[in-house]
Symmetry: C2
Subunit: 423 residues, 2 copies
């Protein structure tokens, strides 16, 4: 049986142990296992934001000389330090939703045919594709309709290369959109094998890296990935609503036009009396004025993860989720829990889905009565997210003990489990 | 001849004089006349942002319970306190560019025909329309092309009702996009008369209020305006890259679909296993996760302007720009300056364009050698922006004296005027 001493031993040997103190953690007894919804506040980010606000106050518009390159600068750091991509291939801007829209629409412009995703993909990805398939121009011009095909992947293992090969086989597919790590089960899709399967039919894949970036390896170049988007407020700790990112491999940039043509994507931006002329390269995917506060926070968060190194981050993630799986196997089965995530650590992202028929009241009870913060994903998942930079094995063990104790005592049956909003 | 004593007397009688101390102004000798590019930092915003960052650190994901309504809450305050609109008609989200794209594309969905703007409209507005006219789906499906017509308005007086009547007369126009205040000349378009002129042909007008919001009256309901977007980092002092806003009058919301369908526009957002089902009302124009830091800053900025009251703000704006015009008439003509803004104060926004053949080196010299911060707009405009909440008549007078002195001494002819980026 795994013990707290085992967990403490893992922490003692953890090469990333020193990163925890680089985050603001004021109430250490409250065990936070929802860093994959909103990552913690880095100390450096708190200080940087205060400095940036002061800079706004004193330098005013002249500070734009330094700020204007932040979307590309932070993108380059993210590319090199985290994503396994190159300079000039990543921008930090807008939201994941807007970036996905821009990228998919740009690719669609040159590719007729159906849009494909899996029916378990994250809602905003599906909604964006639904909107693009219907094409907002359709009612007036009665043209532009695309078919949206949603295939059913294994709910635990996520979309497989075979799923994708089958989906693109008809030969009439414009593109495929998939999440690298599934938001429910935490399954890691096989980037390289899926790229190869789609590539056999010449079909581009657009990856949503929101749940994988900063937690599992995303070697985009090595995997042959050409297009991706993702968010920065989960494992990159960029803060609530921080700007997202967009990746286009260098050789795929030529000819790609953003549908949202804005002044930050314009060559010679301040020569204002000319028609639209997009900057060469990825910069054309900038639209309006980027959020400078958000970019500064993302820069700090990306720096932390890049400094830790993705190999160490991924190893720690696997170690932490392995602890959850081991504890489940040993002690949670009799309480009605089962594993809703892949058993293979190489196919598991930085969260574990514990399935239970009473998942919702259990989540509420954990938050309200056990000082543990999980997340609920309907209909039956207690989602435990681990953050390699600040979650310890010991606190994770404590959280599991509290969970077991709570359910054993039937505590979850005594709370008001009226559904409320949880992100 | 107007004197500094006259300016001081105007300040002594200024009902908004008390607002200046609510901004961070550390170097009072540096006269900032570019608040219409980036507004100053309010003291309350500095404190609010520090509190918000702390809240992120301590409350973590649970704070979303309070944050999630901010786009609508800040929008309602902006609607009621500044825009002359109603609750449920304004959202604060994304950038002006993205909001304009969403709104124009949504309207186009039901309206075939050409897109119309004036050739002097702000670049990002023209770029967005160029992209929408070409339609990013066109190469694959060879459909969806729209004509973009750009009419030439008077460069000083801006687009007139007659211009718009003429533009929509052919009967094949889908919509018109115009700026309320011209970014170069500062001309205020006649909202109500232009709405009437376009309305005679049933053509909707989408207003870009970026340069007018918080500086001149924008009584949207009274003027019959149905659609608008605008930015918050100019006269609303929301900070660099702060989220923008989007307005749709309540009766125009029905049936309008955002092309960018995201999870924040979804009814029952956290019931994730359903097709897209937009929330009733304006909320469907939300896309991805909104910037919470940005929204908090905008909330403080909007509160300041709403607290001052738009009538007082507009009166002060006219008084300040009137001082510039009077000084120009009396003393700057012999130095080669002429007025590039409307003479009628009711048609003049919160900036004045001083035309001069050497505008660019004059701007550089003002910044580098006279501690005055104007903005340059090519080819020949020294743009002086006044901010009713914090610009004083006395400092504005001083800035004009420095300008005159500098040009009289030929100081601008002795600087390195290599063009660099200025926003």
């Amino acid at each position: 049986m795994i013990t707290r001493a085992d967990a403490e031993a893992l922490d003692a040997a953890d090469p990333l142990a020193g990163f925890r103190e680089r985050f603001v953690i004021e109430d250490a007894d409250r065990i936070y296992l929802d860093g994959n919804s909103l990552g913690r506040l880095p100390v450096a980010t708190r200080d940087r934001l205060a400095a940036l606000v002061a800079e706004w106050g004193t330098r005013l518009v002249s500070a734009w000389e330094d700020w204007i390159d932040l979307p590309a600068q932070v993108g380059d750091r993210l590319a090199e330090g985290v994503l396994g991509a190159g300079p000039g291939e990543v921008l930090v801007c807008d939201s994941t939703t807007v970036n996905l829209y821009k990228l998919v629409r740009a690719i669609m412009a040159d590719r007729p045919g159906a849009l494909v995703t899996d029916s378990g993909n994250f809602p905003t990805d599906r909604y964006v594709l639904e909107g693009l398939a219907e094409s907002s121009a359709s009612r007036a011009t009665r043209t532009g309709h695309r078919e949206l095909r949603q295939f059913d992947a294994d709910p635990v293992l996520g979309p497989s290369p075979d799923d994708v090969a089958e989906a693109v086989a008809p030969g009439d597919v414009a593109l495929v959109v998939l999440s690298h790590v599934a938001y429910r089960s935490g399954a890691v899709a096989d980037l390289a094998a899926i790229e190869a399967a789609a590539g056999d039919h010449g079909v581009p894949v657009v990856w949503d890296l929101s749940h994988s970036v900063g937690s599992v390896p995303t070697e985009l170049h090595a995997a042959g990935a050409r297009y991706a988007v993702g968010c920065t407020y989960k494992h990159l700790n960029g803060g609530p609503g921080a700007p997202a990112f967009l990746y286009v491999r260098e050789d795929a940039q030529t000819g790609l036009r953003s549908p949202i043509q804005g002044w930050f994507g314009q060559a010679e931006q301040f020569d204002m009396e000319r028609p639209y002329d997009p900057v060469p390269g990825i910069g054309r995917f900038l639209a309006g004025t980027p959020s400078i506060l958000g970019l500064a926070a993302v820069q700090e968060g990306v720096g932390l993860t890049a400094g830790a190194g993705m190999a160490a981050v991924a190893a720690k993630s696997a170690s932490l989720t392995g602890l959850v799986v081991a504890y489940l196997d040993e002690r949670l089965g009799p309480l009605g829990f089962s594993l809703g995530s892949p058993r293979d650590p190489a196919r598991r992202g930085a969260h574990v889905a514990l399935r239970h028929p009473q998942a919702w009241p259990i989540c509420r009870a954990l938050i309200e009565r056990a000082a543990v913060v999980p997340d609920f994903r309907g209909p039956d998942i207690v989602r435990l997210g681990v953050a390699p930079l600040y979650t310890t094995h010991a606190e994770l063990f404590d959280a599991l003990e509290r969970l077991r104790d709570l359910v054993e005592r039937g505590e979850h049956e005594r709370i008001d489990a009226t559904r409320s909003r949880v992100t």
